[in-house]
């Protein structure tokens, strides 16, 4: 007897395949909305001290409690989301803007200058990423500029390498050759033929880099290289709270850290999901290593 099994309905299959991607996008969307509408979400101001409500436990008035100046923790986490999302997006865009042209130039022209640029990228990759970010951040000094520059510079080589690999892999393919033969200029070749072909991998790296940027930014801010007080930044909030940990005010460190974790987790989920989408052979394999 022949037994026929029907394939599962298409929609169900789609959902089970892209469940992670959807969950990740949902969490990212949540944080982006929080960042956009932070002032509307809370009756409290993020930086105004209220000494009567110092170190209050989580309660109905202050859902996640207050800090040592009586500022509402949830409000500060909302405003911290603005900074974290901004740092992640700005540093990743800057890294793309610098890294991708370097990679394409080095890959396309294959001359001495391109070679030298890629060797410079190798030098930057020779530093452990967090160590380099700390060194750059410490050289420039605490503040948003230093933080952004540190994260950007550490991320540039990743994008340059990816763009370089993509360019070298495609520039001799027949469709590029024929485009060149029909008189396409360098700009058109890169814009219409090379870039679209490396879009998938670049998107994956960008997403994972967003998570990396949040994590690195939080680490710099935890060490004291972040945006100066009293601006709400997740990393420095965890650091402030750590002084009160042993005396029992656990919420001050717990919740900002949870915020960092969820958004980084979400970026990693989206990055992995996009990778699956772009290349099914790579399903759940070597993705996390790039993110750390």
């Amino acid at each position: 007897m022949v037994r026929l099994t029907l394939p599962p309905p298409r929609r169900q299959k789609f959902w089970s395949r892209y469940r992670m991607l959807a969950v990740g996008l949902g969490i990212v969307g949540f944080w982006v909305l929080v960042a956009l509408f932070a002032p509307l979400l809370s009756p409290y101001a993020p930086n105004v001290p209220d000494m009567s409500a110092r170190l209050a436990m989580p309660s109905l008035q202050h859902l996640l409690g207050t800090d040592e100046y009586g500022r509402d923790l949830l409000t500060r986490i909302f405003f911290g989301a603005r900074l974290s999302v901004f740092i992640a997006v700005a540093s990743t865009l800057a890294a793309i803007a610098v890294g991708v042209p370097i990679g394409i130039y080095a890959g396309y022209r294959a001359g001495l200058a391109g070679e030298a640029l890629m060797r410079v990228m190798d030098v930057f990759l020779a530093f452990p990423s967090l160590v380099l970010a700390l060194a750059i951040g410490a050289a420039i000094g605490p503040g948003l500029t230093g933080e952004l520059l540190a994260i950007t510079l550490v991320s540039v080589p990743t994008f340059a390498r990816q763009a370089y690999a993509g360019t070298v892999a495609t520039k001799h393919l027949p469709f590029v050759e024929s485009a060149r033969a029909t008189g396409a200029g360098v700009g058109r070749l890169i814009g219409r033929h090379l870039l679209p072909n490396m879009f998938g991998p670049l998107l994956v790296i960008s997403t994972l880099n967003l998570g990396f940027a949040v994590l690195t930014g939080a680490s710099l801010s935890f060490i004291g290289l972040g945006v100066p007080l009293p601006t709400a930044e997740w990393g420095s909030m965890v650091s402030d709270g750590s002084q009160y940990l042993v005396s029992g005010q656990w919420w001050m460190s717990l919740f900002p850290g949870l915020a960092i974790m969820t958004i980084v987790f979400a970026f990693n989920l989206v990055g992995d999901g996009l990778r699956d989408l772009a290349d099914p052979r790579m399903r759940r394999s070597r993705s996390l290593s790039d993110a750390v």
């Binding site: 530093f127 410490a138 420039i140 060490i223 965890v238 042993v246 460190s253 850290g257 759940r284």
Partner: protein, 326 residues
């Protein structure tokens, strides 16, 4: 390939130190000094020389092991780092031991039972592990195991205050205490070590586990695995000898990359646990605007990182005889 990269590392470290807005001469002679004194110190430090000449002097001094003084401790930076390095090695090695002990079985199991609950569990653990800020995880561990459960001592260094440091043999506290049979010291240092090592190990666990899983799955598809099974080799033998050994090559590579990540992570974890290693030294230097230690730490970690990756290639050649470099 390594020599030009390391030269480049020197250049980057040198340039970073020159980016600092503060005038190093002013830092040396103090804020109360006159302009003439500052100028004299600038001449003494060679700050009036062209940049490339300064870089050359920096390189020469570095090759003689002279990396300048730390403003905070007043000692040569290299002496400070050397004193604190064993504690960092202890922490890092302990975290690697934990990471391998957890990641190896979990990675193997999640590959053998792909898409089962254990695979999902491993996946969630690894995703959480790379998404968690290390410093926060450290604080969580302190919160649970010290503040709430009182299972471990206060996160204040690597040894209880009641104990004297044992005379150094290896300079690694746990090992020295063990070698000299000082059981109380050994036990105290072990209890101080466990939480920071655990915190530092999470990222490594995640990465090793996922790499091992992917690599095992890749190897398991090969024909020779089926052949070995068909010839009657036991499952254990096939998985542990035929599969694992071949699956280890990319895992060892990623492990080398991970050691660099551990050096960065050590800065955070040591700061949280007041661990007397290189990382907490760097943090306190950053807070005191003392740049020389930061610069030298970055420089030496890049050199160490490059050397480790070279060693990884050698280890890989030992695991897989097909890999040759000559």
């Amino acid at each position: 390939m390594m020599v030009p990269v390391i030269l480049g590392v020197f250049v980057v470290a040198f340039l970073l130190a020159r980016v600092i807005p503060a005038n190093p001469a002013l830092m040396v002679v103090g804020l109360q000094s006159t302009a003439a004194e500052v100028h004299a110190e600038e001449l003494a430090l060679g700050l009036n020389l062209p940049l490339w000449l300064q870089m050359w002097h920096f390189l020469l001094a570095a090759l003689h092991g002279n990396f300048g003084l730390s403003i905070v401790t007043g000692q040569p930076v290299l002496t400070d780092l050397a004193q604190r390095f064993p504690a960092t090695v202890e922490l890092t090695v302990a975290s690697v031991v934990i990471a391998v002990a957890v990641a190896l079985p979990l990675g193997i199991l999640s590959a053998l039972y792909k898409d089962s609950w254990i695979d999902w569990l491993a996946h969630v653990i690894s995703l959480t592990g790379v998404s968690m800020p290390l410093f926060w995880l450290g604080l969580l561990l302190i919160m649970v195991f010290y503040s709430a459960l009182h299972l471990v001592p206060a996160p204040l260094g690597d040894l209880g205050v009641l104990y004297a440091q044992p005379p150094p043999i290896t300079h690694i506290l746990v090992l020295d205490a063990l070698l000299e049979g000082r059981w109380a010291v050994f036990w105290s240092s072990l209890r101080h070590l466990i939480l920071p090592a655990l915190a530092l190990s999470t990222g490594t666990i995640s990465v090793l586990m996922r790499m091992l899983r992917a690599s095992m799955l890749d190897v398991l598809r090969h024909d020779y695995i089926r052949t070995a099974r068909a010839k009657g080799a036991s499952a254990w033998h096939v998985y542990m000898v035929h599969t694992l050994r071949n699956a280890l090559v990319p895992v060892v590579t990623i492990f080398g990359l991970q050691l660099g990540y551990l050096l960065g992570g050590a800065v955070l974890v040591e700061t949280v646990f007041n661990w007397p290693g290189v990382g907490s030294y760097v943090t306190s230097a950053i807070l005191a605007s003392d740049y020389a230690p930061v610069e030298v730490f970055a420089l030496l970690s890049a050199v160490l990182y490059s050397v480790i990756n070279l060693c990884v290639d050698v280890v890989n050649a030992a695991i897989d005889p097909r890999i040759t470099y000559f």
